[in-house]
Amino acid sequence: MTTIEQRDNYPKSAAEFTENVEKREKIGKVFEILFLLGLLLGLFVLALLLFDVLRDGLGRFLMPGFLTETPSRFPDRGGIRPAIVSSILLGIIVILTTVPIGVGAALYLEEYAPKTWWTAIIEINISNLAGVPSIVYGLLGLGVFNYLLGFGPTLISGALTLSLLSLPVIIVTAREAIRAVPDSLRYASYGLGVTKWQTISHHVIPYAVPGILTGVIISVSRAIGDAASLIVVGAVAFLTFNPGLFNRFMALPIQIYSYITRPEPGFANAAAATIIVLIILVLALNGMAIYIRQRFYY
């Protein structure tokens, strides 16, 4: 049997190339396996975490009253209702404040602002703000909301501090989403004698909604899970009533932190049970976003 290489009429130019296809494909295979390993490692760690939390916390989580009662001095008694209510309120306020402000800022930067050196500086700074540690936002919130505006250590101070924390990520991701809207769509709209705002509201925003939602979820999830900034603003570890906007407040991460700092072993299970609640809350938020994305007509 003759192979291709042995045939007489094989093109001469082949001699100028060392094709080595088998080796090149093998290199590709090695990278494919490396990437798969990366994925599996990530999934494994996540699964381990979930398993650990469920093993420690599921029993406590299922005890009657854990979701509906106020905290107790005893690890097996009481519940985390004030923390749940606080976190849900915090999440709602963060979404209500950051989405309009963040999307508005992103729209201005992308659609209206001229591309000059000062808009470039603003862009870089917003991206940098997305990387600032949350405790720094806590100090800012303490100064501005607690003292300057006189809200004191209340839920509204905490919520607005978390909003500050979320805004940069929302602006950055919303800008990416708006920039991804093809210009051909804008031209099509302008070409019909349609104004700028009609073009933005009917075409640009709907097209960008899925991308904007992704950013909202990432940053609100970060805010809901944040403890450091709320400690600075004055969240408390123990509350026997439901928080109101201008009352003292708790939060699920604060509850977790307060549980794990206690010496009795039962509190570790309570902390794990609280983590389960927090994970469910974040999952519910994600589910909502996916639902909106699917439902969206555009």
């Binding site: 051909s184 031209y187 099509a188 070409g191 004698g193 349609v194 104004t195």
Partner: protein, 275 residues
């Protein structure tokens, strides 16, 4: 310089036959600070198809985008000179470009339907402009005139982006004529289409010129010779900075352009010696 203004000749010829819709009076376009299109003098006759032909970079699309001030949307582009649309200079600062674009519709090189339903693609423009008539009738009428009604009448709720390329382009034409414009600008409307769709769009143009003035940029000389009444030939030249810029070389009735062009450049281009 063999730089030919057809201004005087057209003044007499075009005005004998047709009214002038656009009177281009020395329009130049700068791009990024450099002159990209030398002064153009040109009169576009009413209810005729005028084709712009020429090699890439000759400024034909750039000039087309002047007619509805689409160049305003390109930050680096700057237009100078006067361009009269029915006796009003559209580069007068007092002219509202949104109002102008309602009169001067545009069809783009790549079909760009909105990612909405076929119905909404047509209805959006009229609704945004406060159309008071019967929307269902307008949608049907526009789709009929764009020769796509039979293909889409049963799926008006399907997305416009799900249609084939040729159907999408006819949808875009329907969308443009739903605004009941005065002029249709077409920027290489068939360059992304197969020969059958191209023929459909060409036949459509010939029907539409009964009602509309059409200005079409095309890379396809056969297309210009098939459907255009008037043809403008643009060419490129190298300026003192070594940059390429475009210029209008000749503007003639299409028959004359393709049988006995007056300029050597046009003759060489049309006989296929370059371009």
């Amino acid at each position: 310089m063999a730089y030919y203004h057809s201004k005087n000749r057209l003044d007499t010829k075009a005005e004998q036959q047709n009214n002038v819709v656009f009177d281009v009076e020395g329009v130049k376009v700068y791009y990024d600070g450099f002159l990209a299109l030398l002064d153009v003098y040109l009169k576009i006759p009413e209810k005729q198809i005028t084709a712009f032909i020429g090699p890439s970079g000759c400024g034909k699309s750039t000039l087309l985008r002047c007619f509805n001030r689409m160049n305003d949307l390109i930050p680096k582009a700057k237009v100078e000179g006067r361009l009269y649309y029915r006796d009003r200079n559209i580069y007068d600062p007092k002219i509202n470009s949104v109002k102008l674009r309602r009169q001067v519709g545009m069809v783009f090189q790549r079909p760009n339907p909105f990612p909405k339903s076929i119905y909404e693609n047509i209805a959006f423009g009229p609704r945004a402009n406060g159309y008071k008539g019967n929307m269902d009738e307008l949608v049907e009428d526009s789709l009929r005139r764009a020769a796509i009604w039979d293909e889409v009448k049963d799926k008006l709720k399907a997305k416009g982006t799900a249609l084939s390329g040729g159907q999408q382009q006819r949808l875009c034409i329907a969308r443009a004529i739903a605004m009941k414009p005065d002029v249709l600008l077409m920027d290489e409307p068939c360059s992304a289409l197969d020969p059958i769709s191209t023929r459909q769009v060409e036949e459509l143009c010939l029907e539409l010129k009964e009602q509309y003035t059409i200005i079409m940029v095309t890379h396809n000389m056969q297309q210009a010779s098939r459907i255009a009444d008037w043809t403008a030939f643009f060419n490129t030249e190298i300026d003192e900075h070594g940059k390429r810029r475009g210029k209008l070389v000749e503007f003639s009735p299409t028959e004359q352009m393709f049988s006995s062009p007056t300029t050597k450049e046009a003759e060489e281009y049309i006989s296929g010696r370059f371009g």
